[in-house]
Amino acid sequence: MLRNTFLKNSVISTRRFLATSVKKQPSIGRFTGKPDPLTGKYTVSFIEGDGIGPEISQSVKDIFAAANVPITWEFCDVSPIFVNGLTTIPDPAVQSINKNLVALKGPLATPIGKGHRSLNLTLRKTFNLFANVRPAKSIKGFKTTYENVDLVLIRENTEGEYSGIEHVVAPGVVQSIKLITRDASERVIRYAFEYAKAIGRPRVVVVHKSTIQRLADGLFVNVAKELSEQYPDIKLETELIDNTVLKCVMQPDAYSDAVAVCPNLYGDILSDLNSGLSAGSLGLTPSANIGNEVSIFEAVHGSAPDIAGQNKANPTALLLSSVMMLEHMGLNEHASKIHNAVLNTIASSPENRTGDLGGTATTSSFTEAVIKNL
């Protein structure tokens, strides 16, 4: 989604060009929300998150205001409540997101090792966000160890190893169940094909380990093979996760023309691996969680409580997620304007980069620089 024709063609005069190059969206999970007829503005639910969340959210709000994006924010509190021992999102937040059909989300702290389910997982389950889209692309002007990384990964988001079905069979013996269903596999693989079609990539690569999990991953692979008959223009490849990992790290540009799709856990690992390749961290990685009705766009990095409130955090991941959100909503002009401003700011000089990218900028000075570049 972040493949950017605009960067290359920025010389070409603006308006006409923008009008003709409207980003195509996959046919599944399309945004159906309408702007408020009185103001002409869309309402978007905003989960600012914990730790550095409020700071990086402020940056998004400032930049959106400066760019005159026709959006009104509706703030949501998702502090978990427990209903019958289950992690649950407060009702007002659920209502807000169901009404607006779209949300932007900062990082939420998930306590490790405590009994309850992670809030991120709860959000995905509550709104049935079946596909997680994770583009990872090198940023021009910001040099990292790996070059020309341009990976797109789609992860099944609702089942697999994250089914949450586990039990102690006998003391010291645990069974964790990985659940793979035809329905969920079909839904996410179809989305991957549609996504590849929309962004013009000719290959879909299904990543699996069906040599070992012959039934579970085997089902996932078989569903992909069946579906591929409906997409004769897109080449389907199936690849063992061993090979994908090896090739991805040795030669990331081998996947620049592909969309990868995989079951939940592999997707989780590979998407972070991809971010390691494109940026060396999660600080520049946007992500979208797509459902049939609702979609939530989020920064995937942690809430970094150690630097919270110090004006040090890098808001790029949340900004790039908000760009994906604008594209999803069809606000392509605003999307590309903000996208270019963010990338140009990072590329301009270390003074305009935050500490995690080896620069000296603060959250607020970075934000100002982006606004100047708008």
Partner: protein, 361 residues
């Protein structure tokens, strides 16, 4: 690496020391399982080098293929039971649901070969993006996602069981800490996904960190979530020393490691049970696509074979051979295609043999 490998038997901890491989007339018999793909070519390379060096080893070759009847794995099992030590290539596992599962897994299970060690160390002369990588991945081989327990409850709904046990987690944890201690390494990091699989991976993580804190106070113990570990490993691999993992995460980190040092052909590895030691390349790629072309890089297999020599107490020979391999690669005149050279497998092997011939004992 691997000083005092002869004491490796104590990896087994708490259980009785078993007998080392037997030596008859001053010679050892070693089970040779060439495997599929490039297996034959790269084990031939080892055979030639060992012959040139007069290594006191007789090979007992068991040629079976991953495409064969699964029952054939018995032949390998019986041979290993006799010899207690083996050198192995990788058997191919077809990625479809007809036929049988992985022979590699079957062998490991039948002999309870629970610990897999893979060593990822940068080599002079191999171009990589990040220099001086030196990490070890120790992987539980017998349970976890590789349990092979799966069923289709109703059509279109498959459950795959991942089994985690306290006993096996503790066993691999002790193995990892012993390994670290004996090889002068300072930290062991448990890789897990306990934020999601709270019980299963939680058990693994807690077992490793508890054993580390209680029994190995001189080794630093830590833990990391697998997705973060993967990201960190490609960006900043130097922070890791020994990583201990359930089976699936080991596959992933192992392939990252292989990519970091320049390819799967360079990785040395070994597998241990209480009684048996099977040495095989640390990166388990079959290489079907380059089979029979005489272009495979045998380095990983040769280095695995030198680990085997150390295990047998033939340390001097092990050092001689591994030094020769490293020198030939560093000189860069006779290297294989995968690391930017032009030589064939046999030319590379001959260069090593020449190097050895010109190195005084």
């Amino acid at each position: 690496m691997l000083r005092r490998l002869i004491t490796k038997r104590t990896f087994v901890t708490s259980l009785q020391e078993t007998i080392l491989p037997k030596k008859y007339g001053g010679r050892y018999t070693v089970t040779l399982l060439p495997g599929d793909g490039v297996g034959k070519e790269i084990t031939d390379s080892v055979i030639s080098i060992f012959k040139a060096e007069n290594i006191p080893i007789d090979w007992e070759t068991v040629e079976i293929s991953g495409l064969d009847n699964k029952e054939n794995v018995k032949l390998a099992v019986e041979s290993l039971k006799r010899n207690k030590i083996g050198l192995k290539g990788i058997w191919h596992t077809p990625a479809d649901q007809v036929g049988h599962g992985s022979l590699n897994v079957a062998l490991r299970k039948q002999l309870d070969i629970y610990a897999n060690v893979a060593i990822f160390k940068s080599m002079e002369g191999v171009k990589t993006k990040i220099p001086d990588v030196d990490l070890v991945v120790i992987r539980e081989n017998t349970e976890g996602e590789y349990s092979g327990l799966e069923h289709e409850s109703v059509e279109g709904v498959v459950e795959s069981l991942k089994i985690s046990t306290k006993e096996k987690s503790a066993r691999i944890a002790r193995f990892a800490f012993d390994f670290a201690q004996k090889n002068g390494r300072h930290s062991v990091c448990a890789v897990h996904k306990a934020n999601i699989m709270k019980l299963g991976d939680g058990l693994f993580r807690n077992t490793v960190t508890e054993i580390g804190a209680k029994e190995y106070p001189d080794i630093k113990t830590s833990s990391i979530i697998v997705d973060n570990a993967s990201m960190q490993a490609v960006a900043k691999p130097h922070q890791f020393d020994v990583m201990v993992t359930p089976s699936m995460y080991g596959t992933i980190l192992g392939n990252i490691g292989a990519a970091l040092i320049g390819g799967p052909g360079l990785v040395a590895g070994a597998n241990f049970s209480r009684e048996y030691a099977v040495f095989e390349p640390g990166s388990r790629h079959v290489g079907l696509d380059i089979k029979g072309q005489n272009i495979a890089n045998p380095t990983g297999m040769i280095l695995s074979a030198t680990l085997m020599l150390e295990h047998l107490g033939l340390k001097e020979s092990a050092n001689r051979i591994s030094n020769a391999v490293k020198q030939v690669i560093a000189e860069g005149k006779h290297t294989t295609k995968d690391i930017g050279g032009k030589s064939t497998t046999t030319e590379f092997t001959d260069a090593i043999i020449n190097k050895l011939a010109n190195t005084p004992l």
